[in-house]
Every structure is written in structure tokens, then in C-alpha cells.
Symmetry: C2
Subunit: 436 residues, 2 copies
């Protein structure tokens, strides 16, 4: 990582331009291995802009032989427009993170085919027939391979970029390499850790039903202390290289395959933020499920699978992380020479368990933060949004918020992942008082 090129201060000055279909065709024709993968004449390629994210242009290019995905960063937030500028350098950090993830968790991220720093553009393997996992969850689809894949991804990317696996010097180089991605971190700091708890122009929620709940959160000082502690941890605990935005919209799946995409929020932060993101988005899928059923109990099997998945995501992640630690601790933390002999080995193993318990507690807090922002902040998710009846949606959302509030403020009462799923199960049919 130490030899990675630093991002350009302002790539726009050095040949950046937004690529449209015709430019893209010419550009791709000159990248020989991409052109070969597509096959046939460039004129025959189909190019479709499919970006449905908030920030970037995404093209799918298909030729006679195969397809690729092309992602280009825009110098502003796509969702909002030029009034909200955002550095192109995020494409550099995304590329850097993707390269590292490909090395640490092979086969679990899209293959990188080409990167152009000046154009803030990356060409990747086209994932077909994968779909965005969140869409599958809304439809009630179960993904039996998901637990195995996502826990391998998290355990390996987090462990191998932590002080348990790296020398302090390598770790500091990694931190410095991603320090410049602070504009993307700032989005998280504002939209997740601040705005949902105060009056902010960009907030929205299912009105009028959640008006009173929104006001309650804005007035809940225990919650404000809890979210502020999490925010500080997010800003100042560079434990490992995070994906930084690991929700079910950043995961593409088939029944047997999982690919993690879009790590443009990558930076060195607290591990619990990534793990909590996965858990939170599964829990939201669980609470949203009641809103998607056409007949009572119709989705019971799916809901059971979701909670089982929540439990296994934590337990399998913890198991794999511990396994890596036991087998390959080459980092400067917890040096083996201090834990020699049988007594040392036993004490170190107890400390590993304690470390994972601390990480669990932080994960629970971050999962809560990721939930509340999707219900009261700027960015919502289709799990809830696709529940057409707003009152039904508000009921599902209020259940999720009730659990999240407890997870954030009474974090210590959640000692195991079964405490979390047990609390979720109890709230499945709880009827909140709504406004309006």
C-alpha cells in the first residue's frame, strides 16, 4: 500500500471529462483486454447507463462475447446535483479498496479490469445474473450461501488490515493512504451520526405517523450521547480497512454467489461499523417483511431465515476472525512472545474472546445507528419504501426503531446475538402508537 499512487488533487484539471455513450465506446475500444472480453466490433456493443445509486454513473457494456460494468465518479452527488460537490478522488479510494479486498477475499468482489485515475473511471467484471441483495430480500428470497460468503469477506478484510495481522508501520501506511477520503467519511458522519437526531433539511420520515417518534428521538439525550460516542469511534478508531457502506444494496447475489461492490466509502475505521451494517440491514429486512406480506404468516419461513442469518452472520464472523487470529497473528498487537506456554496460551485465548465481546458490543451500537438513519435521515431503503401503505410502513419502521433505540442506549443488555434476534422476534407483532 505504501507505493500506491496518491490521488490527484483535482483530476478535473488533468483530463477529466464526463463520458457519454459515444466517448465510452471509443475509449473502451482502445483498452485491448476489455475490447477482447466484449468481442465483436465496437459499433455493435450495447451501452446502457444503469446507475441507480446516489453518486455515480454506471454503464453496462455488452458485446458479442461478454459484458463489463463501467463506473465513473461525477464531481458532485448525482442524487442532488452540482450544488453538492464531491471529490473525484473517491474513485481512487474505491479502486484501492477493491484491489485490497480482491487480494484478501478473492472471488467475493468483482474482478477489476481497468482503472483510469484521471477519468475517475473503473471497468469491472459484469455481474450476471446477480441482483442487488436488497431487492431479493424485499421479494422474500433466501440466500443460503450468503452467511458463508459475507463472513469470509468481513473476517478476512478486517483481520488482515488490523493490528493483529500488520506491523504498526504497515498499519499507519494504510491509514495514511485512505486519510484523504474524508469527504466520503463526512457524508457518513453527517447523515448517520448527526442529522437524524436533530432538525435537518434533508431528513424525512413516514409522516405523519412517525412525527411524534421523530420528535422523541430529537429530544432523547441518552440517545444523543450514545450516537455521539459512536460518531467519535467512527472518526478516531482506525482498527481496520472498512468497506464503509456494507448494506444489502452494496451486495450482489445469486442463490449461490455473493459479490461485495462499491467500496468508495473505504477508510480505516472501527470494525463494528461494517459488521453492524450487515446486521442492521438484515434486521430491517425482517421488520419490513410484515409490510410485504399479502396474507398473514405468508413470509414466516423467510423471516425465520433472516433472523437465523443475523445470528449466523455474527457467530460465523466471530468464529472465522478468531480462527485467523489463532492461526496467523503476525501483527504487532498481542505479541506471541508475551503469551508463551500453556498458561499464556489460555490467557490469550480468553483475551481473544473478550476482544470479540467488545467488538460485539460496538457492532450492536453501530447496527442501531445504521437503522435509525434509514428511517429518519436522508437515505431510505426499499425494504421499507416499497411498503405502499404508509401506515403499514410506519408500523414496520417503528418496530425497527424501538429495537435500535434499545440497542444503542442499553447496549450492554445485548450480550449475545440471540439477545438481538430474541428482541426482534418479540417486536414482530408489537403495535406502536402512531401520530396523525
Amino acid at each position: 500500500m505504501s507505493t500506491a499512487p496518491r490521488p490527484l488533487a483535482d483530476p478535473r484539471r488533468q483530463g477529466y471529462r464526463i463520458l457519454h455513450e459515444a466517448d465510452l465506446r471509443d475509449y473502451m475500444a482502445e483498452i485491448l483486454d476489455v475490447a477482447a472480453r466484449l468481442g465483436g466490433e465496437p459499433a455493435s456493443w450495447t451501452i446502457t447507463e444503469v446507475g441507480d445509486g446516489n453518486l455515480n454513473l454506471v454503464f453496462i457494456v455488452k458485446g458479442a462475447r461478454g459484458g463489463v460494468a463501467v463506473k465513473q465518479a461525477l464531481p458532485y452527488v448525482r442524487l442532488v446535483g452540482e450544488s453538492w460537490p464531491l471529490p473525484l478522488s473517491r474513485a481512487h479510494y474505491e479502486y484501492l479498496a477493491l484491489s485490497k479486498q480482491a487480494q484478501l477475499a478473492p472471488g467475493l468482489v468483482p474482478a477489476l479490469l481497468h482503472h483510469n485515475e484521471n477519468l475517475a473511471l473503473t471497468v469491472m467484471e459484469l455481474l450476471e445474473p446477480h441482483i442487488i441483495m436488497r431487492k431479493g430480500l424485499v421479494a422474500g428470497t433466501q440466500y443460503p450461501g450468503f452467511v458463508g460468503d459475507i463472513t469470509t469477506f468481513m473476517a478476512r478484510t478486517l483481520f488482515f488490515t488490523s493490528d493483529l495481522a500488520l506491523s504498526a508501520a504497515e498499519k499507519k501506511e494504510g491509514i495514511a493512504a485512505f486519510a484523504g477520503n474524508h469527504a466520503l467519511c463526512k457524508i457518513t458522519e453527517d447523515l448517520i451520526f448527526t442529522d437524524p437526531y436533530r432538525i435537518a433539511e434533508q431528513n424525512r420520515w413516514t409522516a405523519p405517523y412517525l412525527d411524534a417518534l421523530a420528535a422523541e428521538l430529537r429530544d432523547d439525550m441518552e440517545l444523543h450521547v450514545a450516537i455521539s460516542r459512536l460518531k467519535l469511534k467512527f472518526m478516531a478508531s482506525p482498527e481496520a480497512l472498512l468497506h464503509g457502506d456494507l448494506h444489502t444494496g452494496s451486495i450482489m447475489v445469486t442463490e449461490s454467489q455473493t459479490r461485495v461492490i462499491d467500496p468508495e466509502f473505504a477508510f480505516y475505521g472501527p470494525m463494528g461499523f461494517d459488521v453492524g451494517a450487515v446486521l442492521a440491514n438484515l434486521l430491517m429486512a425482517y421488520f419490513a417483511s410484515a409490510g410485504h406480506e399479502r396474507a398473514p404468516g405468508e413470509r414466516a419461513a423467510f423471516e425465520g431465515w433472516v433472523l437465523e442469518t443475523v445470528e449466523q452472520v455474527w457467530s460465523e464472523f466471530a468464529r472465522k476472525f478468531l480462527e485467523l487470529w489463532r492461526a496467523g497473528a503476525a501483527g504487532d498487537a498481542y505479541p506471541a512472545s508475551l503469551f508463551a506456554g500453556e498458561k499464556g496460551a489460555a490467557r490469550l485465548e480468553a483475551e481473544r474472546q473478550a476482544y470479540l465481546q467488545r467488538l460485539f458490543t460496538e457492532t450492536v451500537g453501530f447496527a442501531a445507528a445504521k437503522t435509525i438513519r434509514r428511517i429518519f435521515g436522508l437515505a431510505h431503503n426499499i425494504d421499507f419504501e416499497l411498503i405502499a401503505d404508509p401506515k403499514t410502513r410506519a408500523i414496520s419502521e417503528a418496530r425497527a426503531v424501538r429495537l435500535a433505540r434499545a440497542m444503542m442506549v442499553e447496549t450492554g443488555t445485548f450480550r449475545t446475538i440471540a439477545d438481538v434476534t430474541g428482541a426482534a422476534r418479540k417486536l414482530r407483532d408489537w403495535m406502536p402508537e402512531l401520530s396523525g
Copy 2:
């Protein structure tokens, strides 16, 4: 800090040479403001090499009008020789830290007069008649101005480089600016947080009297877990820009003045490491004092002053830090908008107290680590070393170690600084069992 020049990868290639007396005279003659400050003809200047530290060359240059101090980094550890190389870039980080400290705590560091990146050389104000504080403490001298000065230095340098005062972007830029100083951090990681707890060639202690105690520490797995947690915190908690080596040998004093010198270990780390360093070195001065008395009780007033100073260093630091937080929290942590109104203000104030309580606990742990390394590691201090009779010395050291072990392993039982000084007072005349 974002525009600061990055250190040269290998300054030796770009004009580095070790300056000897004659070169130094010619060099200084060409720096007009330094030459003017010295006064008279360059040939008349006296140049004396006085470096008694472990790493660098230090010259005192005096002319007809005044004097300056010149510090040049060597490409190796002076104490050991060329077999232990050490990057010259540390002079860059020292300069960067000194500049920042001068800005944040004016008058409490030596004035910077000149810096040459290629030569790894810095010219500073000559501190006269200041002496190294540790020497004064060995002699039993009280410094009534010390508490006020050191707590201002720590409160201001730590607060204003923390997330409480900076935006997350500024903070990350600061972290990145110092990330390259990892070779100096590594010295701390090895010599403070690892070696004293295992067999290591460079360890030494007052043998044979402390042989059994040394073996006990090497076998004490609770202590090994505690020191490993502190090491991890040191490596991965960039809370603020630390001095990084804030012992009483890095502080020069007169009865009314205090100057903090030598911040070449500066990096973004946990605040408790700096505060703990000051407390630990005062506590060692306290325990060493018994070994310096020629008649029982001779130094009682001094010892009383030392413990009072320990108490006031913490309480005044905490008071000033809280005052800065209340008055000037412009950082991204704990945003004011989440703590509006009377209820919010009261809750935030309680959280500030809780923050300081957490910092106190970490400070206690780091103070313990800084103590043990001076008794069993490579670098000892004259507080103990100048106790001529080794058995008397070992008794003082064993008392300090007993307190340090409790502070590190039973940290939670030390709730206030009076718990620390109370425990120290109880150990003043405790007679340890010695080996040999």
C-alpha cells in the same frame, strides 16, 4: 498542516552530512538572524556538543550577544551506534510538532529559529538557566510553576488537536502528516509495551535484587493482557497529537519557567499516554526520593510536594481541558446541535465528566507502563540510577513497581488521582522482599 512538506524519503541522498564544529560555525554564519542573535565574529563563537540523550547531536553555540541550541539527527541511535539505524525524518516530525506546540502553547516550548530538512537540523532558542527537570527532582528541588505550565501545555496541545476541536477532515490530515514517524513509535512499542515483559537482550534491572520480581512480571499473564491492551491503544487510537515522550527529561525548568523539548516521538495517539508520562515520572521521583535522603525524613517536604503535584497535574489538566471543551468545541465530535437547551447542556456536561473519567483510567494504565519500562527495560532514569547503593535502589524500584502493577491490572480501583497518591504514600516505607 495539510500544506506541510512531506519528509524526504532518504535525506542522506540530498545533501545530508553530519556537522562537526567547523562546519557548524560556517553554516550558522550564513543564517543571518541566527548570526545576529549570536553576535560578534563567527570565529569567536564557542561551540560545545552536549547531547546526553540517546539519539541525536546537540550543540550549544554562544556568541558575544547570545546563544542558541542546535539539534541534528543522526541516521542511527546514538546510544547504540550505526548497527541500529533510525530515519532522519524524525527531525522533520519534531519540527512539525514543535511548530504546532508553539502555536497552541506559546511560551512553553523553545522558540524555533531555523530548520534544515536536508540536514535534519533545527536551531532553537538556548534555554538558560533552565535545567532538565529530572535533575532538579533528584536534587529535591520544588518547582511551584510546573503544575500550571505543564497542564496548560497538555490541555491545549491535546484538546486543540482532537476531534473535539477539529473537523474530521483536519484531524485525518494531521494523522496522515505524522503517520510516517512510525520508526519512532516502534521504539515505544518495543521498549515500553513489549520488552520489559519478556526476555530481551536489552533489558536490565538492579540485579540480583530484582531478579525474582523481573521473573514474576515475565510470568504475570494478567499484566501481559493489560500491557497488550495499552499497546493496541497506543497503536490504534489517534485521539490527539502527542508529544510522545513527555517525561521529566523532556522538560526544562527554572523555578518560574517550564519548557517542553524534544517532541521527536510526536504522532497522533491516545491522550493518556502523554498525561500518564508526566504522572509516572513524578511518581518515580517520589519513590526514588527515599534513596536520595542522607537522613530519614530529610526530603519529606519535597516528597509531599511531589505527591501534591501529581494530584494537581491531573486535576488542573482535567479542569483546563474541560474549560476548553466548554468554551471552544468547534470539532465534529459531540456536535452542539445535539445538545441544545438546558437538558441537553446538562447531559453533555455529564458526558464531558464521563469522557475525562475514561481518560483518567487510561492515563493510570499508561503511567504504570511508563514506570515498569524504566525499571526493567533498556532506558532507565537517573531518579533511580543515581541511588548509589543498589539494594537501596532496588527497594525504591520495587515500591514503584508494586504500585505500577496495581495501576495496570486493577486500573478500575483507581477512581480518582487521590487513590493513586494514597497508594503511593502507603508504599513509601513498604519493605519488599528482594532476591540475592
